[in-house]
């Protein structure tokens, strides 16, 4: 029978409490034994504090991603972003940046870094293009080449160049934009060539043009710039392939900071600044900031709570009596987590800190009752017995409801919420066990020490301890006017709750990282400056032809900047065969050419005027299209400023003038240049027109290793987006468009989608389950449905108010702080439960006494819980900070509704409306 059952339970606990207080050595040894046993689990425990580790392992896309990470190590690249310190002088900035790139590549390629770095790429490898350029080019590009280089002499070359510009770019802003990078590089080369032509035309002494300068100019004209530069050439990126992947978290945390240090040290004297970004770097930052955040939070929480304990109980030993079982409870929890799951994820690790504020609740209830009994003159053992009897039922019910509510999180879909449920439930039970096993023993120890020394409780603390005399006053007021208190709290909840529906879910996972993290800020900078994000989606294929088909389709998508794979570097045998024919024809064409002995000065002048017009029109398009990099080059070539006004004379102007006036015998100078120009250009074009078929083994190792698995069976394609894939709105467009081509794309950005899914669905699912379970437990405990429902009312109003406040304050739910919902359900009901038990014990008309007796403990438990959660607020990691804020608000609301509304509702129900709130078994007995 319930009454007997309750007495038996309390008798057993009471008996243990008395025994432990009297035989505290033995009791502590038992606790030690348990600690050793559970503590062995700690050796199995890993901290996995990354969002990556939260991904559902059974998802096909996650498995694909893990396969990519393991099979294609180059997929885990570190991106180094360099910025020229002085960007006012663009030419100088560009020279500084490119020199810095070369310098860093040399430095990081040294053997001493080989253990950490597989490869560093600061520029595009042109040698492969030099040797197989035409085989690697599309049919239409080869045809373009053939048209442009029909004749390598100056006049026909410039004429064909003009034809090409007009055919390809005139009015075609889209094409210009797509080829902006390439065209910018070529224009630089063109500028150098025109400079050499101008010098040759003006030189009356017949000096030879510097062959190296000529080669460099032609090289740049054909191949563009090999560096990865931003729009105005003041920034560059390098790619480091590390010797570890995102699966090697320990190496990520240890070696990336070292690399960062080396690089930043190196660039100090180079006139540039450097920053690192990319998934590995963000992950490293996540781990470090999480650990820092958790560490600091734990210390703050423990210190504040223990201080509160001293002041509240007026015992210097309060921190030890409550703190020792508290910390041992946490140790037991960690040990059990090691045995059961082997790891703590970011949610369950945060929970361990919150456990400081939760576990102390049991100590507070026990110590409150103990101190009250001691103040009535009972002995230590008698006080322990009474404190267990009086506060025990409430503690047990509260702990069990909370633990079961947490275990009920197994209904969640996501692994991380399930794991949190296990750790949280175990944590509550471990703290409960720890308090009941150890706290009476410590009280006995303290009592015997004081008795031996002939001392009593500290006089000082009696004077300075916290006073709670306002609590009984509040109890009186609520008892006298329950309807008013109930109405005010209800109205407040409804008022704030009207905004509840507007609370939003965070769509950008990067907004949850620590603010101001360089690795995150550089992601946005890369989108802005380079038009691409460092984080991509990837597809693997075993069939290369299939990959070619997919790539063609994906490349056309509006949200895709470019697609990287082995495909451009290894055309299909059919394509190679067709191109080989074209390459051979081109080769024969080039071989048959030779430098002319003559030059039509007027014709050249006319074509140069036409060239200037083409460049001006391209600059109009570049201006309108916001192609600043191209516009800058074009303005320099044409001597114009940002508004299009002619401000300077250029090499082109001088050359045209020379040709018109012919003062220095311009034609002869140019003919001399032509004698060098044609063979130099032939020397570049002939190797490019090599018709030899390319085998996979001929592709440069750095390209092959990036896109082909080590066993040669799988091929990787990286899809680079036009926007930031961590932004929810853009990601939706990006993933939906890719899905129209293939369902097999994967990437860490998908984590964001899955995490948002968790926030939206798992949180709700967990909350509903926890609510149902709690309700059942309340019915079982109180054996009264009306009372069970009334107990849930403050909780429900807390929720409504919480959502309303979050909406008003602009705080969004994310997949971390959404866990506040089931936590609030599990913990928030405890205060009302304690009031219920005490009210049933004290009887009708005694609510002031109930509030006076229970109010202090309820207040303290709420404050300590709030401290536990609020300790996350100083964290630099925004996810932790927002969780701390949300949970603190939630707990504060739960307390306010418990102390101001719940007693009023109980009085209205039991005393005004005459409803029976007693257990139905006691009614049957009557």
């Amino acid at each position: 029978m319930p009454a007997n059952k309750e007495t038996r339970r309390m008798r057993m606990l009471g008996a243990w409490g008395v025994w432990a207080a009297k035989h505290w050595v033995s009791a502590l040894l038992i606790a030690l034994g348990i600690t050793v046993l559970l503590g062995l689990g700690l050796s199995r425990l890993r901290l996995e504090l990354t969002y990556y580790s939260l991904m559902p392992k059974d998802s096909p896309k996650v498995r694909d991603l893990q396969n990519i990470v393991e099979t294609f190590p180059a997929a885990s690249s570190i991106v180094v972003v360099l910025k020229a310190e002085n960007s006012a002088d663009r030419d100088r900035a560009r020279q500084t940046i490119t020199a810095a790139v070369d310098s860093i590549v040399v430095e990081l390629s040294r053997p001493e870094y080989a253990a950490s770095i597989v490869r560093v790429q600061g520029r595009f490898d042109l040698d492969y293009i030099r040797e197989h350029g035409l085989i690697l080019s599309k049919k239409e590009d080869i045809e373009r080449f053939q048209r442009m280089f029909t004749d390598l002499n100056l006049v026909p070359l410039i004429t064909h160049l003009n034809d090409d510009f007009e055919r390809e770019y005139s009015g075609n802003e889209k094409k210009l934009s797509e080829e902006e990078e390439q065209t910018s590089g070529q224009l630089e080369g063109l500028g150098k060539i025109i400079g050499l032509m101008s010098a040759a035309a003006a030189d009356g002494n017949g000096r030879e043009t510097d062959p190296e300068e000529l080669s460099a100019g032609l090289d740049q004209f054909i191949f563009g710039s090999p560096y990865f530069l931003n729009r105005d050439g003041t920034m560059a990126v390098l790619f480091i392939q590390p010797a570890f992947t995102i699966n090697d978290l320990e190496r990520v945390v240890a070696e990336i900071p070292e690399l960062e240090h080396i690089i930043k040290n190196k660039v100090r004297t180079l006139g540039v600044t450097a920053g690192l970004t990319g998934l590995l770097v963000v992950m490293k930052d996540e781990i470090i900031t999480s650990e820092q955040g958790l560490g600091i939070s734990m210390i703050i929480a423990v210190v504040l709570i223990l201080l509160l304990m001293i002041l509240s109980f007026r015992m210097y030993s309060a921190p030890f009596i409550s703190g020792i079982p508290l910390l041992i409870g946490i140790l037991w929890t960690a040990g059990l987590a090691g045995w059961v799951m082997g790891r703590l994820n970011i949610l369950s690790a945060m929970y361990m800190v919150a456990l400081v504020g939760l576990g102390i609740d049991y100590a507070i209830h026990l110590l409150t009752a103990y101190v009250q009994e001691r103040e009535h003159g009972l002995t230590v053992a008698e006080s322990v017995l009474q404190s267990v009897r009086k506060s025990g039922p409430g503690i047990l019910t509260g702990a069990l409801t909370t633990a079961i509510a947490f275990f009920a999180l197994q209904v969640a879909k996501s692994q991380m919420v399930k794991e949190l449920g296990i750790v949280a439930g175990l944590g509550i039970l471990c703290e409960l066990a720890s308090m009941f096993i150890i706290l009476p023993a410590l009280l006995g120890f303290r009592g015997s020490r004081l008795a031996r020394k002939g001392k009593s409780d500290s006089e000082l603390l009696r004077r300075v301890g916290l006073r709670y005399s306002w609590i009984p006053v509040l109890g009186e007021r609520v008892s006298r006017r329950p309807a008013i208190f109930a109405a005010i709290m209800l109205a407040a909840a409804i008022l704030v709750g009207t905004q509840a529906g507007k609370v939003q879910v965070e769509g950008n996972i990067m907004n949850m990282e620590a603010k101001g993290l360089e690795s995150i800020e550089l992601q946005d900078q890369m989108v802005k400056e380079f038009g691409m994000a460092p984080d991509t989606m990837s597809v693997t294929e075993t069939n290369l032809q299939q990959m070619r088909e997919i790539e063609k389709k994906i490349d056309k998508l509006e949200s895709v900047k470019t697609v990287d794979s082995i495909v451009p570097y290894f055309p299909s045998p059919e394509e190679q065969s067709l191109r080989a024919e074209q390459a051979l024809r081109f080769r024969r064409q080039i071989l048959a050419l030779g430098p002319d002995e003559t030059l039509d000065r007027e014709q050249l002048g006319s074509q140069l005027q036409r060239l200037e017009d083409n460049l001006l029109e391209m600059s109009d398009l570049a201006f309108a299209g916001g192609m600043d990099k191209l516009l800058d080059k074009l303005n320099r070539l044409t001597g114009r400023d940002a508004t299009g006004e002619k401000i300077a004379k250029t090499d082109l102007d001088r050359l045209i003038l020379e040709l018109e006036t012919n003062e220095s015998g311009s034609a002869s100078g140019l003919i001399r240049l032509q004698q060098q120009f044609v063979p130099s250009l032939q020397a570049i074009l002939l190797p490019m027109s090599n018709p030899e078929a390319i085998g996979l083994d001929m592709v440069p190792p750095d390209i092959r290793d990036t896109y082909v698995s080590s066993d040669g069976h799988d091929f990787l394609m990286n899809i680079i987006p036009t926007g930031n894939p961590w932004d929810e709105n853009f990601r939706s467009v990006f993933t939906n468009q890719i899905a129209t081509v293939t369902e097999r794309a994967t990437g860490l950005v998908l984590v964001a989608d899955q995490m948002t899914e968790i926030a939206q669905h798992d949180g709700v699912r967990a909350a509903v389950t926890a609510l149902l379970v709690i309700f059942l437990l309340l019915v079982l405990d109180f054996r009264n449905i009306k009372l069970a429902l009334a107990t849930l009312l403050p909780l429900c109003l807390s929720f409504l108010s919480l959502f309303g406040i979050m909406s008003l304050a602009g705080i969004k739910f994310d997949f971390i702080n959404i866990i506040a919902v089931p936590l609030l359900i599990g913990i928030g009901v405890d205060d009302a439960v304690h009031f219920n038990h005490r009210y049933l014990l004290e009887g009708k008309g005694n609510m002031p006494l109930v509030v006076a007796r229970t109010g202090k403990a309820v207040l303290l438990t709420s404050v300590t819980t709030i401290i536990g959660f609020a300790s996350f607020i100083p964290s630099i990691m925004r996810a932790m900070r927002s969780t701390g804020i949300v949970l603190s608000i939630a707990m504060a609301l739960a307390y306010l509704f418990a102390i101001l509304l719940h007693p009023a509702v109980l009085i209205i129900m039991a005393e005004r409306l005459g409803l029976n709130i007693h257990p139905w078994t006691s009614r049957r007995k009557k």
């Binding site: 007009e166 802005k528 509006e558 949200s559 299009g644």
Partner: protein
């Protein structure tokens, strides 16, 4: 016996579908009224925002005409100084550009109509079709009668390209105010995703038409949006003359 109920159900469904389709068509026609007209003259300010930063505002004069079953459109840039004198002429699917810097005129391929106009988030096609209404090339289907957009109850109409039409998007989804049949938003869908959205605001009565004086085209694939503020719009305007839509007119522009 079994055939009759089936027949009745089929006929009812067809009727419902037809009724739905007619409703959608009527709704769109009503919404299109302010935009359809002959000899439309307008002056607009267009500002492109890239990654949050504003590019120099473009001031353009627009002239459109429908004549002899052909559509004509001339866009002339007045500002900024760099673009003053640049002009685009569209006659059906043909497109010419006049460059301010050189005075030369180039004919572009018809595929260029899909390209961005003047670096904005509007294509030449988006701008050139304005005199015929937005939905001329599309057929309408009512998807939802009660959708809230900008705190207004709207019809959600799906617009899919009519057969044989070129320069169209895969689909448009238009949100039309239930009360006053104003376009409030249009989503442009390509390759399964909304790639840009056009919102309409600042409706004013002009020439007896309820016309939006502000339109914002926001790209969802680039960090970019274009705000268009109409300074002036005239329907059946005497400023629009037939000879404006010729190459020789482009040559005469200063």
């Amino acid at each position: 016996m079994k055939v009759l109920p089936l027949l009745l159900i089929t006929i009812s469904s067809l009727f419902a579908a037809t009724a739905g389709a007619q409703d959608a068509g009527q709704i769109v026609r009503q919404a299109e009224k302010p935009f359809i007209g002959n000899k439309i003259y307008s002056v607009s300010e267009m500002t492109v925002y890239r990654s949050g930063s504003a590019r120099p505002t473009q001031v353009v004069e627009g002239y459109t005409m429908d004549e002899g079953g052909r559509s004509y459109s001339l866009t002339l840039y007045l500002e900024p100084a760099r673009m003053k004198g640049t002009a685009y002429l569209i006659i059906d699917n043909d497109l010419w550009v006049r460059f301010a810097s050189t005075g030369r005129i180039r004919k572009l391929s018809s595929s260029a109509k899909k390209n961005s106009a003047g670096g904005t988030d509007f294509s030449y096609s988006d701008m050139g079709d304005s005199g015929q209404g937005i939905a001329k090339k599309y057929q309408a289907t009512l998807e939802n009668r009660d959708v809230i957009v900008a705190e207004r109850k709207c019809f959600q109409i799906a617009l899919t390209p009519r057969t044989g039409q070129e320069d169209t998007y895969e689909k448009l989804v238009a949100y039309i105010d239930q009360q006053n049949y104003r376009y409030l938003k249009i989503d442009y869908i390509q390759s399964g995703a909304v790639i840009k959205s056009l919102t309409f605001s600042d409706y004013r009565n002009t020439d007896g038409r309820d016309y939006p004086f502000q339109m914002i085209m926001e790209s969802h694939t680039q960090p970019s949006r274009t705000e268009v503020v109409t300074k002036r719009v005239e329907f059946d305007s005497t400023k629009v003359e037939e000879d404006m839509f010729t190459i020789s007119y482009l040559q005469r522009i200063q």
